[in-house]
Structure formats: C-alpha cells, structure tokens
Symmetry: C2
Subunit: 312 residues, 2 copies
C-alpha cells in the first residue's frame, strides 16, 4: 500500500535581504518540501515579489488556495508591503494579530510584523528574528542570542519579548577585515575555528574589558609590521574580541538568565557555542531554521485554525 502524502497546510517563508527560504508544511509542522534561493530583497527586481513567490510555490506544486505566511525583510518599508513594527514588550501571539494581508492577490499571503523598541535611549528594531524567538515557545523568562551580520540579543519575560539589543558584530568584522587598513594584515583567509586558542582568549578578554577594544585594534597592523604575531592569529583575535564585546552587552540585558538560548545554524552556531564555553556560560543550541519554521507555523495556526484542524 502506498503511503499517503500529508495534505499541505500552508507555505511558510523567511524572506530576508539576501536570501529566500520556503517550506511546504503540514498542520503538525512536518516539512513536506523546502526551497532555498538567493531571491532576497537586494537580489530581486522591484515589484517582483508576487512573481518570485508564485514561482517557488509552483515548484512546490502548491494549490492556488494554499495560504502563505511570511516573515522578514519582505515586510520592511523597502520590501513587498510594510508591516508596521509591533512594540516591546511584545507578546508572541500579538505578532500574528498584527500581521498584514497583502492586498490585491488571489492567494492569501500574510506578512508578520517586525518588533521595535521605541526607547529613545536604546532604539532598536528586528525583522525576522521575532519569528525565531516566537518559535522557541518560551512561556517564562529567557535570554536568547541570535548571531549574524547584525546579532540580536533578546530578553524574554513572562513569554513576551521585553527588550533587545543589536550588535553589528558581523558587519564590523567584515568592514575591518576587508575594507580598513587592517585588511593588509588579515590576508584572504578569514576562517575562524571555534576551538582556536587566540579566538577563545580574545572572547574572554573582550568580555571582561570591552572598553579596551578600539585601543587594541591597530595592534593587528602594528604586530604585522613588527613581525610580533603569527599571521593566522589575527582573524581569530578580531572575531573573538567582537564576540566577547557582544557577550558583555548581551548578558547585561538579562543578568539573571541561567542559560543562553543560542539560536543559530552551522558555522556561526559552533563559533558562538565555543565562545560561551570559553566564558563558562551555560547555553543550549536551537537550530535557527527550526525556530523560524516553528514561529511561522504558530502564526499560521493562529490565522487559519479551521484549516489546521481539518488537515490534522
């Protein structure tokens, strides 16, 4: 007897600046099919959002009435349609309630809002990460770290996103290693291994004394000119010190946290896990894609409860 393929409940899309990821999901969250493409906002033609989405749905063989839930930069002002930011403290169910339906389409497509922290002293925004955080299913308190070009640290209190902070860790690394005068000393290979001794000690030192960083940066150049460092220690030092500063600032968001939820994938997850271990910080790893999918599914069930019941 042939095994029946589960009926698709919805398509879930994480649509960012540089990437597009979509999953065809059953109502219990089973991934029936998935697609990844470089169809991020910065890659596709303006005004081509519907075309790009329908192209991927056609590859899924998705029926014309399959609803779609989207998170990420597609909801930014420069995206498909602006889904205004929800405000902190943000309860995760409220994010679905504030989603925007894309008008003028035959298909139902809902875009989740980002979250804004409208504190004039610490203004901050996220788009996409709030859906990963929702996917953690935290009902009490938690401290989460979502590493990346612009890393986010978020304090969750009583199941709501209470406050968060963005660190330009990945962008600063790239600017310094590829564009600044330090590029002459860093060479082409910027790979950093999570068990590299220089990396780990740089994490510890920068976390303990984050204010010294800018005064030590030029040492990468000077150490090169003076032949005082092994060249392969430079990228690990730069990466480790930036991550150490991020850890110092991130922990300050929720000093009582007993562990850090590290929401990441692949190489970045390994690097941050190594950094946390070097600092003796308890953490658990949650795959970033699993988290965003779970957050999108929760929102979809909120939008289409009858459809979800029918497919279960």
């Amino acid at each position: 007897m042939q095994k029946m393929r589960a009926a698709p409940f919805c398509a879930a899309v994480d649509w960012g600046t540089s990437s597009f990821r979509a999953w065809l999901l059953s109502a219990d969250g089973t991934v029936l099919s998935e697609r990844r493409a470089a169809d991020g906002l910065s890659q596709i033609a303006p005004g081509s959002f519907e075309l790009v989405l329908e192209g991927h749905l056609a590859e899924f063989g998705a029926p014309a009435d399959l609803p779609v839930v989207v998170c990420g930069m597609a909801g930014a002002r420069q995206g498909w349609i602006e889904a205004p930011y929800a405000a902190t403290p943000a309860r995760f169910p409220d994010l679905a309630a504030e989603a925007l339906r894309v008008p003028g389409l035959d298909r139902e497509v809902r875009i989740l809002p980002g979250v804004a922290q409208r504190d004039p002293q610490r203004p901050d925004v996220m788009r996409g990460e709030e859906t990963q955080l929702a996917g953690l299913g935290v009902e009490g308190d938690a401290l989460a770290c979502l590493p990346g070009t612009h890393s986010k640290w978020a304090a969750i209190e009583a199941g709501a996103l209470a406050r968060f902070s963005t660190f330009m860790t990945g962008e600063l690394f790239d600017l310094l290693a590829r564009t600044s005068i330090l590029r002459h000393s860093l060479g082409g290979d910027l790979h950093v291994s999570p068990d590299d001794e220089t990396f780990l000690s740089a994490v510890r030192e920068a976390r303990a004394d984050p204010g010294r960083w800018t005064g030590r940066l030029f040492g990468l150049r000077a150490g090169d000119l003076l032949g005082l460092q092994a060249p392969q220690t430079r990228a690990p030092w730069l990466s480790g010190s930036l991550i150490g500063i991020e850890i110092a600032g991130g922990l300050a968001l929720h000093p009582q946290a007993r562990e850090i939820a590290l929401v990441a994938s692949g190489r970045l997850a390994d690097l941050y896990a190594g950094a946390f271990e070097a600092c003796g910080l308890a953490h658990r790893r949650i795959d970033a894609e699993t988290a965003v999918r779970a957050g999108l599914l929760t929102a979809a069930r909120h939008f289409w409860p009858a459809r979800a019941e029918a497919s279960l």
Copy 2:
C-alpha cells in the same frame, strides 16, 4: 636699508601618505618659505621621491648643497628608503642618531625613523608623530594626544617616549558613516561642531563606559527607522562616542598626567579641545605643524651643528 633675508639652514619635510609639506628654515627656526602639496606616498609614482623633492626645492630656490631632513611615511618600507623603527623607550635625541642618509644622492637627505613599541601584548608603531612629540621639547613627563585617522596617545617619561597607543578613530568614523549600513541614516553632511550638545554628551558617556559602544551603534539606524532622533544628532553622536572611547584608553596610558598636550591643527584641534572640556580635562593646544617643524629643526641641528652655528 634693505633687510637681509636670513641664509637658509636646511629644508625640513613632513612626508606622509597623503600629503607633502616642506619648510625652508633658518638656523633659529624662522620659516623662510613653505610648500604644501598632495605629493604623498599614495599619490606619487614609485621611485619618484628624489624628483618630487628636487622639484619642491627648486621652487624654494634652494642651493644644491642645502641639506634636507625628512620625517613620516617616506621612511616606511613602502616609502623612499626604509628607516627602521627606533624602540620604546625612545629618547628624542636618539631618533636623530638613528636617522638614515639616503644613499646615492648629491644632496644630503636624512630620514628620521619611526618608533615601534615591541610589546607583544600592545604592539604599536608611529611614523611622523615621534617628530611632533620631539618638537614639544618635553624634558620631564607628559601625556600627548595627536588626533587623526589613526590617533596616537603618547606617554613621555623623563623626556623619553615611554609608551603609546593608536586609536583608529578617524578611520572607524569614516567606515561606519560612509560604508556601513549606518550610511543610510547619517546622510551626506558629516560635519560635527565642537560645541554640539549631542557630541559633548556622547564623549562623556563613552569615556565613562566605553564597553557599551558597539551595543549602541545600531541605534543610529534603528532611531532613524523609528523616527526617534533628530537626523543631525547622528554624526555628532558617532564622532563623540569614538572620541570618548579614545580618551578613556588614552588616559590609561598615563593616569597621573595633570594635563594633555593636544597636538593638532584646525577643525580636529577644536573638536578634541571641546571633548576635553566636556570631560573637565586640562589641556594645552600645540599646533601640529609648529610641533613637527620644531622636531625637524632639532634633528637638523643635531646632524649639522657647524652649519647651524655658521648661520646663526
């Protein structure tokens, strides 16, 4: 009766990466003539150092036997001829003793060395700033700040350059304001006024808590997206916070210093003077060109004492 023009004692040249400045000096330091050009290392053809220098000397009407003293990047490995770094602690008279005579020229041209701090924990180098420091004529202790793309802070002890630290303040400002994601929020006008309130409070805050900086940086972007800041506060905040971090690190070089010697010119001198005043830090301003000329003259008198006496 016609006033006699003093006989030229030497030509003094500050030859950097992006600029060339030369003075025709009498033995008492009187400037008989001066030249400024964009003939920095990065602008002139490789191998054209003698040609460029002789061109400027010809404009001075300098005699063929007029000796020349040079400081700056012309003595770097990628410059005219490498004048190896002197080591900290560096007595200023020793810098002249370690100068290099350019070989194979009819004219006597001596290039002053830079200074290296060969501490593996704090490697650092300078080229050109040591001559400004020598020009201060400090015989006891001092703390000097030389602002720029790569600001230098130097502790002088018993008349010798004891230790120093480079801060990539100007380069970080440019990278962040013109290249990073923050460029979208900073706009084109990056001018910062030294009495700007945002600038002054950013200096104070960053000096007091330099470790928070990377966690606040993205606030320039978020505050823009959320309409939470006056746009004209962003460049002052970025500049002020970078200078505040620099002050925190620079003061640590010589915590007992009673005043800061601010060796700078023009707009940068005003900006740093404003920053020091905001922090209640005593300082005196020394014009950077006056300082470098004094340092070059001191070296020239060391090289050519008989010539100096004869012209006085």
